[in-house]
Amino acid sequence: MHVPDGFFNAAVSIGAGAFAAAGLAVCLRGARRELDDRTAPMAGLVAAFIFAVQMLNFPVAAGTSGHLLGGTLAAVLVGPYTAVLCVAVVLLVQGFFFADGGLTALGVNITLMAIVTSVVGWAVFRLIVRSAPRSRAAIPVAAFIGAAVSVPVAAMGFTLLFWIGGTAPIDVSSVAIAMGGVHVLIGLGEGLITALTVSSVLAVRPDLVYGAKGLKAKLVLRTADGASTEVAGGPAPAPSRSLRPLLIGGALVTVLLAGVVSFYASSSPDGLEKVAGDKGLNVNERGHSLGGGPLSDYSVKGVQDERLSVGVAGVAGVGITVLAGGAIFYVVRRRNRQGEAEGRLDGDKVSA
């Protein structure tokens, strides 16, 4: 899936590069919160692990084998920020040392394979873990769904970028179908191996699984006279921390869906027109005199522009909706959290 040079035009490459750089900057800050001064050695070793695991081929169906992308696996094991950093470093090393993936396509590769897979996988994972009852069994299931969703979403992201600035003359809907179909399968394999790996780590060292941090039982101190006090655990990941990746992931999925859906909505008349054009061409062939070439060219161009405008309008509409809704949600959430924080402070005082 490593995109080489020359696959996307310059505008998309630069845009994706800027997006990737911004994402990495955010993740550098976030990873320091997840790992403190351990960031460099821990993330480095996890990156080496991901590099190794990507070489681990596993059988998907008869005769074909796939390999792990590892974005969701890393996010569940070490946290989303560190995961993005690790996968991005793996991609950088592969690009510069192994010539795997073009240097001008690094932005696209990091955006799709590091940021989109990790963030989407983690968002889905958190959503399921938080809505499911608190149990250890929910973790692998959530990891399965997160990983299984993240891969097709990344493939759709590829399709979207290809639609904006791909250099190959393939119908976007056929790219979407081919990429989507293949990557739903790959996603299932990825999900399966992610879930199994997470559950095997969970069985041996549950404390290492970042996504299972909320499962730690509270420490209860019982004194000789029978009184018991709950000790607030260490720096458990507060819901506030997981909110931002969730929001970003949600926005990303929505924008992707909007792009794809609006594209499909506008591509059905295109299909009709194509059939009509075919028939018209037949008529022309019989009539000999009417050359419809440029006309059909113009109509295709017109449809493409329309499609683009519909897509842009869809994405913009979704953006505005998400911004407005997000603002309201954020205000409400903030008020709630203030209440929560005050309550927690009181609790701390009691336990102290």
Binding site: D5, G6, A40, V46, A52, P59, P169, I170
Partner: protein, 254 residues
């Protein structure tokens, strides 16, 4: 593993290109890739000039063609994709050797093949003439975020260790008669991956503690002083400059 302390991707040597400071080579190769991508695909001769430029670099660096070709295998999946393009592409069709091919598909197949191959060869030459460690030092001198460079350093340093652990686990699996044939064998592989993760993570913790005990405060001291003179910058910029001149010529011609 028997190759001493040098990495398998690196070809030790003592040529002009080997001696160039990495902070000059990195931007040079990146700029070359950008120029190649920005060249219009109709300018066949420009790509020929780029290939000649790279061949000259390889000759000066004494990187044999066989080494380059062997490393270019990494490109194969996209070559297959590029070959498929003229068959599945849209637009007007042309007859080539009795096959109906899309001319736009042929163009873009050529586009991807040429640009991707040039990019791959440039990256291979960079990796072959620059020690991985010094490449990261060069990245550090180019003001890449410290943390990112450090993560990459630790990754490179321990990559072979981790890969070796994985290889040992594979040998152990296969010594017990395990062959991954279908989906039912996934749990075994997943357990290996889980074990590998625990080993990597615990090794990371040990490495961190060992570094703390040696006075690590979050940043690595710079031991090698990689100064780049104006002359080495000029030498390194020869490749992208020549490419840029070619590209400008091709833009004005088409």
């Amino acid at each position: 593993m028997g190759a001493g302390h040098t990495h398998q991707l690196y070809r030790p040597g003592d040529t002009v290109i080997h001696r160039l400071p990495p902070q000059c080579k990195l931007p040079a190769v990146a700029a070359f890739a950008v120029v190649v991508v920005a060249t219009p695909r109709e300018a066949f001769w420009a790509f020929g000039v780029y290939a000649l430029l790279l061949a000259a670099v390889a000759a000066v660096a004494r990187v044999p063609a066989r080494f380059l070709l062997r490393r270019m295998v990494i490109e194969v999946p996209f070559v297959i994709f590029a070959v498929a393009l003229p068959i599945i592409g849209l637009g007007e069709r042309v007859e080539v050797l009795g096959l109906s091919l899309s001319s736009a598909g042929l163009w873009s197949a050529w586009n991807i093949l040429a640009k991707a191959t040039l990019g791959v060869v440039a990256s291979i030459l960079l990796a072959a003439t620059t020690e991985p460690r010094t490449m990261l030092l060069g990245a550090q001198r180019l003001r890449l975020p410290q943390t990112l460079v450090q993560i990459a350093m630790f990754m490179l340093r321990y990559m072979d260790v981790i890969l070796d652990e994985m290889r040992r686990m594979r040998v152990a699996r296969e010594a017990r008669g395990f062959v991954a044939r279908d989906v039912r064998h996934l749990p075994v592989i997943a357990k290996s991956a889980g074990a590998l993760f625990i080993r990597s993570y615990e090794r990371g913790e040990r490495v961190h503690l060992a570094m703390l005990s040696r006075g690590y405060t979050g940043s690595m001291p710079v031991i090698d002083n990689l100064r780049a003179s104006a002359r080495s910058w000029a030498t390194a910029s020869l490749l992208p400059m020549a490419a840029l001149a070619t590209a400008v010529l091709s833009w004005s011609l088409t």
